[in-house]
C-alpha cells in the first residue's frame, strides 16, 4: 500500500480507529439496553439475553473498527500547487481532485469524541451544484493542527492564519439565550420528548404500565386539566431542550473577518464547527425574524453567498447563519459590517408597501385555512363524537381572530425597495424574512401570476441568483409596481420584454 505510487501523500489520522471504537461501543450499549429489556420482558432469561447482546456488541464494534481500518488504509490525500487530490484504494481504485482555485469553503467540524482525540473533520467544497457530493471532499478525520493548516492553505490565507488579534465582528452574548425558547422548536421538542418516551417504554414492554400510571396519577382531575398539565410539562421539557440545543450550537460563537477576505463563524459547545465564507462570494444577507423573536425584538442574520455548502436537507439554516437570534440593533450592525456598508441595506431601505388587494389575498388565505381546519373538525364531530365539535368550537374562537391578525401583519410586512447596490424584499409573518440581494447578483427574473392574482392585478416577482436559496421573491406586488421594481433594480435584464400600452 505504501508503494512509490503514493509518495508524498498523507493518510488520515490514525486516531479515527479509537473514535470509531468508542462510537460503536456507544451505539452497542444504546442498542443493548432495550434489547436486553425486551428479551427479559418477553420471558427470556437474563444470561441468554446477555449472551446475545454481548455477541452482537462484539460483532458490531469489531466490524465497525475493521471497516474503519480498511477505510483508513485506503484513503490518501495530497495538496499540490493547483489541486487537492484524494485517492481511495480498496479492491477498486478511485480518485477525486478539486481545482484549488475553485475551492470556496473549508469547514471544520469536531464532535466531542473527535475533540477528545484531537482530530477534526474537514469538508472542502467548490460550492457548485453539489448533488451527489460531486464538488466536495471530506477528510474524516485529520489532526486538529493539520485541519487548521489545510484550511489556511486551501483558502490561501497561510500568511494570516494565526492573526486573530483583531476584534471579532460579533461575539456571543450569553443573554441571547433568552431568544432560544421563543421558537416553534420548543413545542416540537416537547412533543418529540413525549413521543420518544412512549417509544422507549414500548421497547421495554412497559408502555401499558406507563399509560396506566399516568391515568392513575390524574385520577379525579378533569380531563381538560390533565391535558393542560401534560401540555405544560411538554412545554417545560421543550424549553429545556431548546436552551440545551442553543448552548450546544452557539457556545463560543464568534464571527471574524480574516484579512484575506474571509468571514469565519466558529461555534459549538460539544461539537465545534468552523465555517468560512469568502467575502467576494457574498451577495447579500437575509434578516430572519421568526414570530417569537420578532415580538421580543430579535433577528437572525443569514448569509446569501454563492458557493455555499449546500445543506443536506434538515440542517438548512446551519451553514448560512452568520449571527444567531440577537437584538435587532446588533443584527443590523452585523449585517452592515459583513456587507461593508455604513448601514445595513435592510435598515436603510424605504420599503414600498403592496396594493390593498394583497391584503384581501392574505386574509382569504389565512382565514380560509382556519375555516377548512374547522370544517374538518365539524365533519368528523358530526360523524364521530361531540367532543370534536367542542374542541373545534374552542379552536375557532382562538384561531379565527389570530388568523386575521396574522394576515394583517403579513400584509403590513409585504414590501420591496432599492437602496444603493441592493434590492430588498420583505414578507412573512410567522417567519418574517427581509432579504437584501446585491443587484449585480441577480441572474434572471421569474414573474409568476396565478389566475387569482391576475384578477386582482397582482404578481410575484422572483429574482434568481446563484447565491443562497437560488431565488428571492417579492410577493403580491402590484402588476406595474412589481415589473418596474424589477426593471429598475437590474436595468438591462427585463426591459426588452416590457411594453407600455
Amino acid at each position: 500500500m505504501t508503494s512509490g505510487e503514493f509518495e508524498g501523500w498523507s493518510t488520515l489520522d490514525k486516531r479515527t480507529l479509537a473514535v470509531t471504537a468508542l462510537t460503536m461501543t456507544g451505539a452497542a450499549v444504546g442498542a443493548a439496553i432495550p434489547t436486553t429489556l425486551a428479551i427479559v420482558g418477553g420471558g427470556g432469561r437474563l444470561w441468554v439475553a446477555l449472551a446475545w447482546v454481548v455477541a452482537g456488541g462484539v460483532i458490531l464494534i469489531g466490524g465497525g473498527v475493521l471497516t474503519e481500518l480498511f477505510y483508513w488504509k485506503g484513503v490518501r490525500y495530497r495538496v499540490t500547487p493547483d489541486r487537492l487530490e484524494t485517492a481511495f484504494t480498496l479492491v477498486f481504485r478511485s480518485r477525486k481532485a478539486l481545482q484549488r482555485e475553485r475551492i470556496r469553503n473549508v469547514d471544520l467540524t469536531a464532535n466531542p469524541l473527535h475533540r477528545l482525540f484531537g482530530v477534526a473533520v474537514v469538508t472542502i467544497g467548490t460550492g457548485l451544484h453539489e448533488s451527489g457530493g460531486q464538488g466536495r471532499i471530506k477528510l474524516n478525520p485529520v489532526s486538529r493542527a493539520e485541519a487548521e493548516r489545510l484550511r489556511a492553505d486551501l483558502l490561501r490565507r497561510a500568511e494570516i492564519a494565526e492573526t486573530d488579534e483583531d476584534a471579532p465582528l460579533a461575539e456571543l452574548d450569553r443573554g441571547w439565550i433568552r431568544y432560544a425558547p421563543m421558537s416553534f422548536l420548543t413545542p416540537a421538542l416537547g412533543l418529540a420528548a413525549g413521543g420518544g418516551l412512549m417509544q422507549v417504554s414500548e421497547w421495554a414492554g412497559l408502555r401499558k404500565g406507563l399509560i396506566d400510571w399516568v391515568i392513575g396519577l390524574f385520577r379525579g382531575i378533569p380531563l381538560v386539566v390533565a391535558i393542560l398539565i401534560l401540555l405544560a410539562i411538554a412545554m417545560v421539557v421543550g424549553v429545556v431542550g431548546a436552551l440545551g440545543l442553543w448552548i450546544e450550537m452557539w457556545w463560543n460563537y464568534r464571527l471574524d473577518r480574516e484579512s484575506g477576505g474571509t468571514l469565519r463563524v466558529r461555534r459549538g459547545l460539544f461539537t465545534t464547527r468552523s465555517i468560512s465564507i469568502e467575502e467576494s462570494r457574498m451577495r447579500g444577507i437575509d434578516l430572519v425574524e421568526p414570530l417569537g423573536n420578532r415580538i421580543s425584538g430579535a433577528a437572525r442574520v443569514d448569509a446569501i453567498a454563492t458557493g455555499m455548502r449546500q445543506s443536506d436537507g434538515k440542517e438548512k439554516t446551519d451553514y448560512h447563519t452568520l449571527l444567531p437570534a440577537a437584538p435587532v440593533a446588533i443584527a443590523d450592525r452585523v449585517a452592515a459590517t459583513v456587507l461593508r456598508e455604513p448601514v445595513s441595506p435592510t435598515e436603510a431601505v424605504r420599503l414600498t408597501g403592496h396594493p390593498r388587494a394583497a391584503r384581501g389575498r392574505l386574509l382569504r388565505w389565512w382565514v380560509g385555512s382556519v375555516v377548512i381546519l374547522l370544517a374538518i373538525f365539524a365533519l368528523l364531530g358530526l360523524l364521530l363524537t361531540d367532543v370534536l365539535l367542542v374542541i373545534g368550537a374552542a379552536l375557532g374562537v382562538v384561531l379565527l381572530p389570530v388568523s386575521v391578525l396574522l394576515a394583517l401583519d403579513a400584509y403590513r410586512n409585504l414590501g420591496h425597495g432599492i437602496t444603493g447596490r441592493y434590492l430588498v424584499g420583505r414578507h412573512g409573518t410567522v417567519r418574517r424574512s427581509t432579504f437584501a440581494l446585491e443587484r449585480e447578483g441577480v441572474i434572471g427574473w421569474t414573474v409568476k401570476q396565478s389566475i387569482f392574482q391576475r384578477r386582482k392585478g397582482l404578481l410575484t416577482v422572483v429574482a434568481t441568483t446563484a447565491a443562497g436559496g437560488g431565488a428571492y421573491a417579492v410577493y403580491d406586488a402590484g402588476e406595474e409596481q412589481g415589473l418596474l421594481f424589477a426593471e429598475e433594480s437590474v436595468p438591462e435584464l427585463l426591459a426588452p420584454f416590457l411594453e407600455r400600452v
Binding site: V447, Q449, A466, P496, R500
Partner: protein
C-alpha cells in the same frame, strides 16, 4: 378592472414572439388521454367485475370520462396560447403555466448549460424540450414542445453565444 390606469401607459410583460410547434397540441392531448384514461379504465374494469357496487363505480367513471374529454379537447388549445418563447441577442424569454402563469428571463451572459430532452411521447410527435440553466438552482428556463430540428439548431446557437461570453456566470 383598472381601465383608467390602462389609458395612462400601463407597463406589462409582452408575450414572447414565438409559439410552440403545432404538434404540441397532439402531444398534450395524448398525455391528457393517458392521464384520464387510467382511472376511467380501472373504474370500468372494477365496475364490470364487482356487481353490487357497479353503479358506484361506473358513475364516477362516466364523470371522469366526460371531464377528461373536455380536458383533452379544450385545455391544450388554451395552453398553446399561453406557452410562448423567444430568444433575443441578450436573453432567453419564455412564458408557461396555466392557472399559475410564469414568465422567465435568463440573460445570455449567465447561461451555463443548454440541454435538450426528448421523452418517448415527444419522440412520437418529433418534439423536444429545451432546458436553459443558469448558475441559480431555481432559474432554469424550459421550453417544452419545440420541433426537434428547431430545438437542435437553437441549442447550437445558444451554446455558441454563451461560449463567446466571458465570466463564470455567477
Amino acid at each position: 378592472m383598472n381601465s383608467v390606469e390602462a389609458d395612462r401607459g400601463k407597463v406589462r410583460l409582452r408575450p414572447p414572439r414565438n409559439v410552440l410547434d403545432q404538434r404540441v397540441v397532439g402531444w398534450w392531448r395524448l398525455q391528457g388521454t393517458l392521464l384520464w384514461a387510467t382511472p376511467v379504465l380501472v373504474l370500468v374494469v372494477l365496475g364490470l367485475l364487482v356487481k353490487p357496487a357497479r353503479f358506484w363505480l361506473l358513475t364516477p367513471a362516466a364523470v371522469f370520462a366526460v371531464l377528461g374529454l373536455v380536458w383533452v379537447v379544450a385545455m391544450p388549445l388554451w395552453w398553446f396560447k399561453v406557452h410562448r418563447w423567444e430568444v433575443t441577442e441578450t436573453a432567453v424569454y419564455a412564458r408557461s403555466g396555466f392557472f399559475w402563469q410564469e414568465w422567465r428571463v435568463a440573460p445570455m451572459s449567465r447561461i451555463q448549460t443548454v440541454d435538450t430532452l426528448r421523452g418517448p411521447l415527444q419522440q412520437l410527435f418529433k418534439l423536444a424540450t429545451v432546458t436553459v440553466t443558469t448558475a441559480s438552482a431555481r432559474g432554469a428556463v424550459k421550453i417544452r414542445g419545440l420541433d426537434q430540428e428547431l430545438a437542435a439548431s437553437l441549442v447550437e446557437q445558444l451554446t455558441e453565444t454563451t461560449q463567446a461570453t466571458p465570466g463564470d456566470a455567477t
